[in-house]
C-alpha cells in the first residue's frame, strides 16, 4: 500500500478500535478513559502492535484534544458559578487540596523525582474527573440529591485551582528560578482575576466575537479561537491548555451552552486520541515497577477524597449516607490527571517513570471511582445496620 492509504488504514483501525472499546466500556458501565489508555499502551512503543506512520497526525490531534478538554472544562461553569463556588466551598476546597495533593507529592519525593515531579504528582492525585463524576451522578439518579450541590461545588473549586496550578506548573516545567515561579503565581492570579472580571462584566462581548446563528460558522469560529488562544499562550510559555481553559471561562451564557453542545463530539474524538497518544508514549514495560506505588496511591487518595466529601457534606448538614455518597462520588480521577502528566512529559522535565505511574494510577482510579460511587450506599447502609444493632449511647440518632 502507498503512504496515504496505509496511514488512513492505520488511523481508521485506531479509531474503530477505540469505538469498540468505548462500546465495551458503556456496556459494563465504566468510563472509556482507562480503555483508551490501554489501547494506547497496546499500540505504542514496546506494545503489542506498534504503529509508526501516523505519529505526526496523532501527536497534533492529541494536542488539540488537550485544548478541547480544557476549553470545555472552562465552558462548563459560568463565571458567576465559579465565584459562588469559591465563596461557598473554599474551606472544603482547601481541605481537598491539602488531603489529595499531599499523597501524590509524597510519593514523588520518596521516588526522588524532585520538587517539580512532586508538584506534577500532586496535581495528578488532586484533581477529580469532573467528566466521570457528572456522568456517574446522572446515571445513578443522584442529581436531585441534597449532597450533589456539595460535590459539584468541590468540582467547581478544583476548576479554579486548575486555573492557578497550570500556569505555575508550566513555568516550573520550563525551568524558571524560584523568583520566576513566584512571578508566575502573581501573573496567573492577575490573569484569572482579569478573565473572571471580563467574563462577569463583558462576557457578552467575548461571546459576541465567537457567536453566530449559523452552526457551521459558529463551530469554526469557536474552534479557531480556541486554537489561536492556545497557540499564543503556548508561544508565551504558559501552556496551550491554560489559554484554552481561560477562553472557556470568558465565554459565557447561551454562547457557552451552544459551544459545549457543538464541541462535545469533537472533544470526545480528539481527547480519545490524546489518551491513546499518552498511552503510546508510555512504554508498558515501565508500568510493573511502579504498580505497587500506584495501588498504594490509589488506596490512600480514594480514602482522602472520601474524607473530603464526607467533611464537606457534613458541613452542609447532610446525613451520614449522603456524606458517604458525596465522598465516594469524588473518588474518580481521569482526564485532567492525564493532562497534567502529559504536560510534564512533553517538557521532558520529569523522569519517564512518572508517566508510567500516572497511567497506572488513572487506570485504577477511573475504574475504581464509578464502582465506589455505586456501591458506597449499600455498604454504608449495611455498616449502619450492624452498628445500630449494637446498643449505643447515641442510638437515638439512628433512624
Amino acid at each position: 500500500m502507498d503512504h496515504p492509504a496505509l496511514e488512513l488504514v492505520e488511523l481508521g483501525a485506531v479509531f474503530f478500535c477505540l469505538g469498540l472499546l468505548g462500546r465495551l466500556a458503556g456496556k459494563i458501565g465504566m468510563s472509556p478513559i482507562p480503555l483508551y489508555l490501554l489501547g494506547g499502551l497496546a499500540f505504542g512503543r514496546g506494545g503489542l502492535f506498534p504503529l509508526g506512520d501516523i505519529d505526526e497526525f496523532t501527536s497534533l490531534a492529541g494536542e488539540v484534544g488537550v485544548v478541547l478538554l480544557l476549553l470545555l472544562l472552562g465552558l462548563e461553569y459560568t463565571a458567576a458559578e465559579l465565584l459562588t463556588g469559591l465563596r461557598r466551598s473554599w474551606l472544603a476546597g482547601l481541605l481537598d487540596v491539602v488531603l489529595n495533593a499531599a499523597p501524590g507529592a509524597a510519593v514523588a519525593l520518596i521516588l526522588g523525582w524532585g520538587p517539580v515531579g512532586a508538584l506534577v504528582m500532586a496535581g495528578v492525585t488532586y484533581i477529580s474527573s469532573s467528566g466521570i463524576v457528572a456522568k456517574v451522578l446522572g446515571e445513578l439518579g443522584r442529581l436531585g440529591n441534597r449532597e450533589t450541590p456539595v460535590v459539584l461545588s468541590i468540582l467547581v473549586f478544583e476548576d479554579l485551582v486548575m486555573a492557578l496550578y497550570l500556569p505555575i506548573l508550566a513555568a516550573l516545567l520550563i525551568g524558571v528560578s524560584f523568583l520566576g515561579g513566584l512571578a508566575a503565581v502573581g501573573i496567573s492570579l492577575t490573569v484569572i482575576t482579569l478573565v473572571l472580571v471580563i467574563a462577569l462584566r463583558y462576557g457578552r462581548f467575548v461571546s459576541a466575537i465567537v457567536d453566530s446563528p449559523d452552526r457551521e460558522v459558529f463551530l469554526l469560529k469557536v474552534f479557531g479561537a480556541a486554537l489561536l488562544v492556545a497557540g499564543f499562550a503556548s508561544a508565551m510559555q504558559v501552556s496551550a491548555a491554560v489559554g484554552a481553559f481561560l477562553l472557556g471561562i470568558a465565554i459565557s451564557g447561551s454562547t457557552a451552552e451552544n459551544a459545549t453542545k457543538m464541541l462535545e463530539p469533537l472533544r470526545d474524538l480528539f481527547a480519545a486520541v490524546f489518551f491513546v497518544v499518552f498511552g503510546l508514549n508510555t512504554d508498558p514495560r515501565t508500568i510493573p515497577p511502579v504498580l505497587l506505588y500506584a495501588a498504594l496511591l490509589a488506596a490512600v487518595t480514594a480514602l482522602t477524597k472520601i474524607a473530603t466529601g464526607w467533611w464537606a457534606a457534613h458541613w452542609q448538614g447532610i446525613g451520614r449516607l449522603g456524606r458517604a455518597r458525596a465522598g465516594a462520588a469524588l473518588v474518580a480521577r481521569g482526564e485532567f490527571s492525564i493532562v497534567i502528566a502529559g504536560l510534564a512529559v512533553s517538557y521532558a522535565a520529569v523522569p519517564e517513570d512518572l508517566a508510567a505511574l500516572a497511567t497506572a494510577y488513572v487506570l485504577i482510579m477511573a475504574v475504581l471511582g464509578p464502582i465506589a460511587a455505586r456501591f458506597v450506599e449499600p455498604l454504608a447502609r449495611r455498616l449502619q445496620r450492624t452498628r445500630s444493632a449494637q446498643p449505643q449511647p447515641d442510638s437515638i440518632m439512628a433512624p
Binding site: G144, N145, T148, P149
Partner: protein
C-alpha cells in the same frame, strides 16, 4: 410554599420544596432542557427515591393534571350558591379539530351558552381567554355552564 432553588453548576437548577410529611418533591431542570421529576426517599431525606425524565409535553401534561382540579374545585366552591351552574374541565385532545385554531372558532358561547373561564396550559392558568386565543392539543379548558351545555361543549371540542 417555600420553593428552594439550588444551582447545580455545570448541570442546571434544582427546584424543590418540603411536603408536610417532610419528604421533598421538585424538579431538576438541566441545561440541555431535560426535566427530571424528583421525590425524596422516606428514610434518607438527602437521597431521591425516583428521578423521572419528563419530556416538555409530559411535564406540561403532569402540571395540568395537578393544577386543573384545584381551579375547578375552587370555581365549583364559588358557584355553590347558584344551583344549576357547573364547572368542568374539557380537554383539547390530540385528534381535536380545534388543535391550532382560535377559541372563537368553537362558537361554544353561542352554541351551548357555556363560558370558558380559563385555559390550563403547561400548568399555567390563562384566565378569561379571548376568542382569538389559539388552542393546542393538551390544553384543558375550564368551562362554566349548565350540565347539558357542558356535555354539548365536550362533544363540540372533540368533533367540531
Amino acid at each position: 410554599m417555600n420553593v428552594e432553588v439550588t444551582p447545580l453548576p455545570g448541570i442546571g437548577v434544582r427546584k424543590d420544596f418540603a411536603l408536610r410529611n417532610g419528604r421533598r418533591v421538585g424538579v431538576v431542570t438541566q441545561r440541555d432542557g431535560k426535566i427530571r421529576l424528583i421525590v425524596s426517599k422516606p428514610d434518607d431525606p438527602d437521597a431521591c427515591l425516583a428521578e423521572l425524565y419528563l419530556t416538555a409535553d409530559e411535564a406540561s401534561a403532569l402540571a395540568n393534571l395537578l393544577g386543573a382540579p384545584q381551579l375547578v374545585a375552587q370555581l365549583t366552591e364559588e358557584h355553590r350558591d347558584l344551583p344549576g351552574i357547573h364547572t368542568r374541565q374539557i380537554p383539547v385532545r390530540d385528534d381535536s379539530v380545534f388543535d391550532g385554531r382560535p377559541l372563537g372558532d368553537t362558537g361554544l358561547r353561542t352554541r351551548t351558552g357555556v363560558s370558558v373561564v380559563a385555559v390550563m396550559r403547561a400548568g399555567q392558568i390563562h384566565a378569561s381567554p379571548s376568542p382569538d386565543f389559539t388552542l393546542t392539543a393538551g390544553d384543558l379548558l375550564v368551562a362554566v355552564g349548565t350540565a347539558e351545555g357542558l356535555e354539548h361543549a365536550k362533544k363540540i371540542l372533540l368533533h367540531g
